[in-house]
Each structure stands twice: as C-alpha cells, then as structure tokens.
Symmetry: C2
C-alpha cells in the first residue's frame, strides 16, 4: 500500500532548507530507498516515493513557510541534476500504475506552477548537472532555469529516441505552450537523446541562462536574491504546521476526522462521506484561524479528502464508482465559506482556498466515476456543493416529508476553478451562462424541486423510487468497461476552454497512455522493455 503522507524529517530523497525568503530543495535520491522492488534509483532518477516527498515539500512551503518567496530546486549529486523517472521502474510497472504515477507527478508540477502564480513563491531550477527526461520536465515546471556550463551538462528529453515513449509529465506541452519554443526546434530537441547545452539551449528558449562552473552558484544566488527581494505580502507571516492526518485504516476503508471512506469491494464501489464543520469548528477571526492551524475545518477536511482520493486512485484500482455524500449543517458550511471569503486576502486563508481548489481538481482528474447523493442530513452547500458539481451525476431525493436542500455561496462563483479555468457552474451551463448567474442570485436554499428546476441535479427520484433508482444506476455504471468510462469522463468533464493544464491531462496524457501499451514500447521487443539490455528494440514501423 502506498502512503502519501510524509514530512521533511522523514524525507529520504530531498533536503529542504530555508534561509530568510529563500528555500532550497535539494534532490539527493537514495538509490536503494525505492517504493517497490526490482530497480535502483541511480543518477537522481525518481519513483513515486521521491515525488510524494516533492509534493509534500511544495505544499509545506506554502503553509509552513509563507515568508519564502524563492525556491531553488537543485541537486546534491555531482554533474547530475536529475535523470527523470526511473526507467526500470517504468519497465516493470503495470500499465495502470504507470498512468497513475504520471498523473500524480503531473499534479505535483502543476502545484509548483500554482504556488508560483498564486502564492508568490517563485521556483528556480538550478541545474548543476544534466537534467534529462523528467528531470528537465521538473525544470520547466519552474519559473526560471539556469544550467551549468561545464562542457558536459545538458538539458534533454530523450524519451522518444531512447525509450519509444513520450516525455509524459507535461514536457512536450510546456515546451511549446509555456516556453513557446518554436515547433521545429521542439521537434529536434525532443528527438535528440544527448540534448542541448549552454548557448544553443538558451537561444532555443530551453533555459534562461548558463554560467561556467566557477560562477554558477554565485550567479544563481544573485538572481534568486533579486526574486526574493521583490515585493510580496507574506514577508512577515508566520506559517502553520501541517501535522499528520488522523486516520484509522482498516480492511474496508479509512476513517478520518471529517472524511470517511467505505469500500464495498464486491460491488467495486466506495462511499465517500465528507462531514461539514461542527458549531465549534467555526472561528470568525484570523487570530482564531491561525490558532486552529491545520485543525481548521476547511484545511483539515480537504487534506483528508485529498488523501482519500489518492488512496482510492493508487491503492484501490478495482473501485470504479465513488458515491459522494456529505453530512452536516448547511448553515455551518455557509458560515465557514463566509469567514473564508471575508479573510481571503490573508495569506493563510488564501492558501486554504487554493488548497481546496487543488483538491477538487484532483477529484475532477480522478479516473473513477462519481455519483453525488443528496439526502436528508447532507450539506452540499457552498464549497461542498462543488463536490456535487464535480460528480458525473447528481441524485437528489424528492421527499414531501423530509428536508433535502442544497445552497450556494461565493465559493461557487469562480474561487475554486477547474483545470479549464472555469467555475464548475460555468462549465455546467456552457449553453446557458445566464443559468449560472441565476443559480448564484437565488435567494436562500434550493429544495429538490428548485434545484432540479435550476439545473443543479441530474435526477430527483421520490422516496418510493430512490432506493431502486440508485441501486440500478450503480449496478449499470459498474458493469461498464472501465477504460471506456475513463475516456468518456475525460471527454465530458472538461467542456469549454482549454488551458495548459487541460492539454497536459487531456491530450498529452491520453497519447502517453496509448503509447504506454503499444508493443513498440512495452512488448517483448519494445524500446522501454529493452532499455539497458544488450538487445535492441525491434519496431513494427506501421504509422498509426
């Protein structure tokens, strides 16, 4: 079982140091500390364990070290920055694992860009040696890239020429869409196993600067100092600590404080319950929020939700459908939203909201079906209404005897954007944008009929039909081809505009998934299978 929780004192592969406004994340991968057997992490190559630590560090810097304005990513290994995802790990992994591994590493790189864009923490890749494959992909997730000029160190994407797969962690997309490298040069670079060095790498836009070995540290430090001295609101902020999540794991699920995950393995479904804040969970002032720290409901509940989603993805592959429930008091959820909105310019509240948005995007990008079930006692309101709007379908009980309601808040108006840059209401009502406005302008709560009328729910069965209708919908869903569902959901969830993120998850990932199961990559004579062996790959050269 893969554990997604860690903390700096437990890191095996990274060192995180902070000096004033500058943090340094140093990669020093321990080759024997792998999360699976059968490979060694040589040359600062990485597996999922290495990336879980990186994701943790990026997250902690935002919450624990808000004074940091520049993060230097570098390596402790001489002449090597990072060799990318470990090839033997990829070669021995199942297709499903490879796909999930790439999705997680993509999310980590998008989190770096989110920290840069929204938290004022700029990332600088200080390439003290060669950055190849995923190593260069990590670099281009940073804001600036500096490469040492030692006559040897290069940046490269050798996946196509050496492995017959794509640089699948956003590399191709970021080349042409973020760094806007000319497409013919991107083509040359992406087929050149040895990569490019110094001046040509700079001329082609692959790096931002290069310095001889003797001046490298000093030159990078000077640039980082400039960045760290730029104006920023957090300079005097004091961070909060992210403590380990309270979780009780059992055979059939995971119990957190605000989240329960119940697995119905026979049905291949899970019930995911998110509980709203209790009355005592509702601080009003920034001081109280800071004091609560990671115990503050919006932060803790969403950290738990994030962990539950990752667990479902990686450790529970056979679970195909997640039924999403909420439990609690609608007014309490709305009160929490109101407090967050009121203080949204405070660094900590800003980080909490950004985190909620990232967790919901993680849900959007999870290759499982989601049905939201709105029943008496549920609290799909404001930020938790986003769970229903994220779901592939929403069922709301229509009962004359019981109170079943949903409600909106400012949190449904764009504060929690999807990967396509739209709010979930905007994505839902692409054909009738005025409907999104009407929903937001609605006074008070929506009962089932009002919610149905407003377009917020898919089906609104009554008491008599509810059990049967839900049961049949679940049975039907779980009987379908899991692959067809993954492709269908990836196509239907993200209508409207495209962004670099949606290109990475929708287009690049789909092509990589395709290639990851082609015999030319993973067959007995495929390039990935034969890498590092005396045998040469044999291709079926038919173009498809």
């Amino acid at each position: 079982m893969i554990n997604f929780e860690t903390s700096p004192e437990r890191y095996k592969h990274w060192k995180l140091g902070v000096a004033g406004a500058v943090a340094t994340l140093t990669m020093d991968v321990q080759e024997n500390e792998t999360i699976a057997d059968g490979y060694k992490l040589k040359l600062n190559s990485y597996d999922l364990g290495v990336d879980i630590e990186l994701a943790d560090a990026v997250q902690r810097l935002r919450f624990e070290r808000p004074e940091v304005k520049a993060v230097v990513v570098t390596s402790l290994k001489p002449r090597i920055f990072c060799a990318g995802a470990n090839i033997y790990m990829l070669g021995t992994s199942s297709h499903a694992f490879k796909v999930n591994f790439c999705k997680f590493t993509n999310e980590t790189r998008c989190a770096i860009e989110d920290a840069s864009a929204n938290s004022g923490q700029k990332y600088v890749a200080a390439l003290n040696g060669t950055a190849s494959g995923g190593g260069y992909e990590l670099a281009i997730a940073c804001d600036e890239i500096f490469l040492v000029d030692d006559g040897n160190s290069a940046v490269s994407l050798p996946e196509v020429p050496l492995l017959g797969v794509l640089p699948g962690t956003g590399g191709l997309t970021r080349l042409v869409d973020k760094r806007k490298v000319r497409r013919d040069r991107a083509d040359v670079f992406s087929t050149l196993a040895e990569g490019l060095k110094g001046k040509r790498a700079k001329d082609w836009g692959l790096i931002d600067g290069h310095f001889p070995t003797s001046k490298f540290q000093e030159a990078v430090a000077a640039r980082v100092k400039e960045i760290a001295q730029a104006d920023g609101a957090n300079s005097k902020a004091t961070g909060i600590k992210l403590n380990p999540l309270p979780v009780e794991a059992s055979e059939n699920g995971r119990e957190y404080q605000y989240v329960s995950l119940k697995l119905n393995r026979e049905q291949r479904t899970a019930d995911l319950i998110v509980r709203g804040p209790a009355a005592g969970d509702l601080p009003a002032s920034i001081e109280e929020i800071e004091k609560l720290g990671d115990a503050y409901w919006p932060l803790q509940a969403y950290r738990e939700l994030d962990n539950a989603l990752l667990h479902l993805r990686m450790n529970e592959l056979e679970i195909g459908l997640v039924c999403v429930h909420t439990a609690g008091d609608i007014d309490a959820v709305l009160a929490a939203d109101q407090t967050l909105v009121k203080h949204k310019d405070h660094w900590l509240v800003r980080e909490i909201i950004l985190h909620m948005a990232r967790v919901l995007r993680r849900l959007d990008l999870t290759a499982k079906s989601f049905f939201a079930l709105i029943e008496p006692g549920s609290c799909f309101a404001g930020n938790l209404l986003e769970l229903a709007l994220s779901a592939d379908r929403t069922f709301m009980l229509n009962s004359p005897d019981e109170k079943v309601e949903v409600a909106t808040s400012e949190f449904n108006a764009g504060i929690l954007p999807m990967s396509n840059g739209l709010s979930r209401l905007q994505s839902r009502f692409l054909a009738t944008p005025e409907q999104a406005e009407e929903v937001l302008a609605h006074e008070g709560r929506f009962d089932t009929e009002a919610a149905d009328e407003a377009g917020l729910v898919t089906f609104a069965p009554d008491d008599l039909d509810w059990d049967d209708e839900i049961r049949v919908a679940i049975e039907e869903r779980t009987s379908l081809s899991p692959d067809a569902l993954t492709g269908m959901e990836a196509s239907l969830r993200f209508a409207g505009p495209e962004t670099m993120d949606t290109k990475i998850y929708g287009r690049l990932t789909a092509w990589q998934n395709w290639i990851f199961q082609r015999p030319n990559a993973v067959g007995p004579q495929g390039a990935l299978t034969n890498y590092g062996k005396p045998t040469q790959p044999q291709f079926d050269y038919k173009r498809t």
Copy 2:
C-alpha cells in the same frame, strides 16, 4: 488498395439529389458492397467506402452545386437513419486501420461544418429513424437535427455500454462543446444503450425538434425551405465539374499532373513533390478561372496533394517520413496567390481557398513525419510556403553559387488556418508574435540567410554538409518508434489555442486510440470482440 476517388454516378450507398437551393443526401447502404471482407453493412451501418462517398458528396456540393443552400441528410431505410460504423468491420480491422478510419470520418464531419460555416451550405439531419453511434455523430455534425416521433426512433451513443469503446467520431466533444449539453446529461446519454426519444431528447438539447411520422416530411421540408430562402450570395452561381484526377499509379509511387509521390520503401520514406503553376496556368480573370474549372492550378494541385496524402495514410502504413519538395517558379506561385486574393469574394475562388486550407489541415493531421527540403528550383512561396511551415522540420540549402529562396504572400497571413484557428506563422512564433509580422512585412524574397535569420527554417546546411546532414536526419527519424513520433507530433504541432477540431483530433482521438487497443475492448474477452456473439465480455475492472 483503397481508392479515395469516386463520383455520384458511381455511388453505391448514397443518393444525391438537388432541387433548386435544396440538396438531399440519402443514405441507402448496400450491405454487400463493402470495401473489405468479413462483414455486411446492415441497418445503414458504414465502412470507409460509405464515408468516402459522403466526403465526395460534401465536396462536390460546394464546387458543383454552389446554388445549394440547404443539404438534407436522411435515409432510405424504413425506421433507421444510420447505425453508425459497422461493428464487425471494427472488430476485424487492425488497430492502424481503425485509427485511420476514424480520422477520415472525423475529417468528413469537419468538412460538413466547414461548408456550413464558410460556404453557406447548411446541413439538416432528417432522422426518419434511429440514429445510433456514428449515425448520431453524423447528425450532430449537421446544423439542425429533427427526429421522427414514431414511438420507437431514438438518438443514441451506445458505444460505451455496448462496445466498451468511445463514440470516437467527435460525438463526445460535440455533445458538450458544440451542442453544449449539460455534462451530467451527456454522461447519462452516453451510457444509455437505447438512447433518448422525442421530448426528452429535445429538452436535453440532443435534437432541435421532433414530429410525428405523419407530419415529419412536411415539417422538415418547411424548415429546410426557410433555410434555403435565407440570403446567400451564390444563388445564381453555376458550378464547375470535379473530374477524376489524372494519376498514374505504379509500384513505387503515384504521378499526377502537379504532384509526384515517390516511395522509397526500403528507407520507409517518400518524396512528395508539388509543382507550381506554369506560365500558361495563370488566368487573371474570374471568367478564365471558371473556364479552367478543376484544371485551375490551385484546385488541381491541392486535389492531387489531398489524394496523395490519403494514399500515404491508408495504403502506405510503413512510410514514416515524407520529404516535401516543391518545383517551379516562385513568381508564378505568388502570381497565383495574388489572383486568388483579388477574387477571394467570388464563390469559386472562396471554395478553392477553403479547399487548400482543408488539404493543409489534412497534412497537419497526418501521422507521418514531414521534412521540407528547400533547394535550388524549389518554389516554397505563398501558399506553398505553408508546406514548409506545416513540416516538422525545414532544411534550406545555403549555397553561394545557387539561388535558393522562399517568399511570403497574403496566403501566409491567416487565409489558410490550422485546426487551432491560427495561421502557421502565428503557431510558429507564439513566443514572439512580432516575428510573424516581420516575416509578412519583409520586402521581396528571403535567401537562405535571411530565412534562417527570420526563423523560417530549422537548419541551413551548406553545399558541403547538405547531403550528409539530410541523410543522417532521415536515418535518425526513421529509426525512431513510430508510435512515440505520432504522439510527439500530435503534441508539438498544435501549440496555442484549442478549438473543437483540435479537441476532437487531439484529445478524443487519443483516448479512443488508447481504448482501441485495450484488452477490455479488443482482447479475446473484450466488448468489441464479443459484440453480437453469445458470449459476454469479461472486463478487467481496474480503473486506469
């Protein structure tokens, strides 16, 4: 060998009738007239042969019947409009064929939308019976959809529930991005094998209207009449005839009048040569152009190029790299461009330019590598410069003794958009849009140094290096994994904005290609394999 040329008198599956401003395209698939063995085309299901006829009809209506303003697409079969792509054909086809088949049918549907958007020919799907799968995908490529209310006829996308694959001909994308169906409803519809009828189909936005059997013909005719009476410039235009292309096919290639395709099978490369217009090919007036008709250089050369590209895709799977050459007089190409621009508001010239744009998009979307070679005697100017800008790499000889030049025209300024909506110069210079402007503002031709300086070429080897450099580049390219190249090129060619077209070709297609080789679809127990058999599919339920 698949032949992409046809004409109405040879159609087996469609009837094309024209009455005034209304054309009717009637589907009446002959079940035994298949292009391969092993299946029958029951229930108006289609194979590539059926779609080649449809593509031909759409094209001919634009050139031969410019007076047409409304095209009704319907069926001669009772109670069935179209059952979509034939499942047994898919089940018995190779992966490469399935992928190429879907790409072609997608291009046909995009051509329908191009005719509607740019040629004033609106398409109305008159569903006189059930439209399922590709049948409904054909309908949503039309502007309006009307369904008969006979208690039985429905629209449906049963691919996910019945076959374990996607509706891959744009269906999912057009559901949420063109018709903007609410995502949860799109989810329900796409998993409902029996589809939806009448009122609910209309309420959900899947169709535009429904009429009882007794009133169906009349109601559709009334709506079509309205469309046909709308203002349009072509009313009095007389079409030109699209005659069969002159082509001499041999073992090693195809010789057309303006295009030569030479296959180097051992090297798995092809030389594609496009010849510019000769002095006698340069009419100046509309009358002369109309008189030349399909013999007019820009139309004939691009029709030949289109045919050569389709031949390469479908009949020459092992050719991985196409070296693109041009031969002729730069001034003659620029003169042709000037004449076209001068008359671009005349319907025929407009159609010729739209056709050139479609052919170039076909090239952009071809899963082969393209290298453009600019040498003495070449004429990469104006519209033909787009061939170099479409290529993955461009090599231009730098010779002190010989004249090697390229030139721009208005044709490089947006008249021939890529699928992403940008010109090829805009796509090339995303990082520095001013460079695109500078190229267009440049006085006169570019010699090699000027072209290199302007960013128009990838490499500019001199006489001494040329042969070796080209040879090595070709050898390297053709040694790489063809699958990795396909994914890489699909990612690098289309930077910048996304459109419905790029979503269909980039995202939906990639997911479909992935699913098309998953054991859950095509394995011995897969859903596609087992369709119509007494055996049930057995899924590996791991979600990926």
